[in-house]
């Protein structure tokens, strides 16, 4: 490497050093990586919305179309995509539930509800909705 000349400098106007952020800044800290993965997870949330819309469309087009959709869903590529998608969506839900108390201040009878309760109520709501959905699909 050629030798670089020292920057122009005067006593009253020193040259500031402006370090640039690395392109891989999100790999430097665990919390940054968690954050980037959480942002990325929204793509998979969107994928599941599309997937359900495709399911609804298939059902509305009749039995043959529905069977075709099921067969397509069984293909290894779609299974893999849905599995990865599921992992990301769970990650999305868990990280947001854990962050919820920081964003929400809930008062009951003039007292501030502890953060742990807010997280717990989120999980409880999740479990209830999941149970209801499972009941509708399997037992109802």
């Amino acid at each position: 490497m050629s030798e670089r000349l020292p920057p122009a400098y005067t006593e009253y106007h020193p040259r500031w050093l402006r370090p640039r952020m690395s392109t891989y800044w999100w790999l430097h800290r665990r919390s940054y990586l968690t954050f980037v993965l959480r942002e990325l997870s929204s793509i998979f949330v969107a994928w599941f919305v599309v997937y359900i819309l495709l399911l609804v469309r298939a059902v509305s087009r009749g039995e043959a179309s529905y069977q075709q959709f099921l067969a397509w869903s069984r293909s290894p590529l779609v299974l893999l995509l849905n599995l990865v998608g599921l992992l990301f969506v769970v990650f999305h839900a868990v990280t947001w539930f854990n962050l919820a108390p920081q964003a929400m201040v809930v008062r009951v009878l003039g007292r501030r509800v502890p953060g742990r309760w807010i997280t717990a109520s989120n999980y409880l709501a999740w479990a209830l909705v999941s149970a209801l959905t499972a009941w509708l699909l399997l037992g109802g």
Partner: protein
């Protein structure tokens, strides 16, 4: 335990070099010495040319923030012994321009701080004869946490959003705005909302959350920003549903 530890200190001497170099100093490491004590030892005994900021040595002035082994830290509250056997890498705070060695340029933060008007704003001041504005302990508890900020800027150094987009108003300034918004004596929330609801205000934050992790005073700026987002969203919803201010 080793009685000495090596400090790897980032040096930037604009009149001599174009970039950062690292210089190693061996300093004593008694169990009650903090990184700042090590730097003061270097300055007094080993190398008087080292530049860094400090003042109170007790976590109040907020001037000795630096990057210690990659983490934004108050060097007056970071013990050398915790890094034994070393070495300990001391660098300037990230995301700020470096003037010299460990001294960063903080003008940007200072300008942002005044933009959010961190003082009690009254629509109308009551005359002195009517006495002080009174507040209950419960009302004070609402904002006390946010008032603990010492402007040390560790949160700015931890925030990748500020690093990527220096226009972002940033954690401490928003937390301080929230400190006054939550104060029952203050009536300046609408004025602050104008500044903070800009794109570079609260909506610039994507909730990485590291600002709250590194905060030496447990201010929780990330929490302040998310709460502010919620109230700003409610406010705009309210003005959408009820256009003629029925606040």
């Amino acid at each position: 335990m080793a009685d000495r530890i090596t400090l790897q200190v980032a040096r930037y001497r604009p009149e001599e070099e174009a970039g950062v170099t690292y210089q190693e100093y061996e300093v004593p490491c008694p169990k009650d010495w903090v990184v700042l004590d090590g730097l003061n030892f270097v300055k007094d005994q080993l190398d008087g040319t080292l530049s860094y900021r400090w003042s109170c040595r007790m976590g109040i002035c907020g001037s000795c923030g630096m990057t210690v082994n990659g983490e934004p830290k108050l060097t007056c509250a970071t013990f050398l012994a915790d890094y034994a056997p070393g070495p300990v890498r001391v660098e300037p705070l990230r995301n700020f321009p470096v003037i010299r060695d460990l001294v960063v340029e903080i003008g940007d933060f200072m300008r942002k701080l005044t933009r959010v008007k961190p003082w009690v704003i009254r629509a109308e001041e009551k005359p002195l004869s009517e006495g002080e504005y009174r507040q209950t302990p419960e009302e004070m508890d609402e904002y006390k946490q946010f008032s603990m900020c010492i402007n040390c800027m560790l949160c700015y150094a931890a925030c990748p959003i500020y690093g990527l987009d220096p226009k972002f108003i940033g954690p401490a300034a928003i937390a301080l705005a929230q400190r006054y918004n939550l104060d029952t004596r203050d009536e300046g929330a609408p004025e602050r909302l104008e500044i903070l609801s800009e794109h570079e205000g609260i909506w610039g934050c994507t909730f990485v959350g590291d600002c709250s992790v590194v905060c030496p005073k447990n201010v929780d700026p990330a929490g302040a920003i998310q709460r502010y987002k919620l109230s700003a969203a409610l406010e705009s919803l309210k003005s959408f549903v009820m256009p003629r201010g029925s606040r």
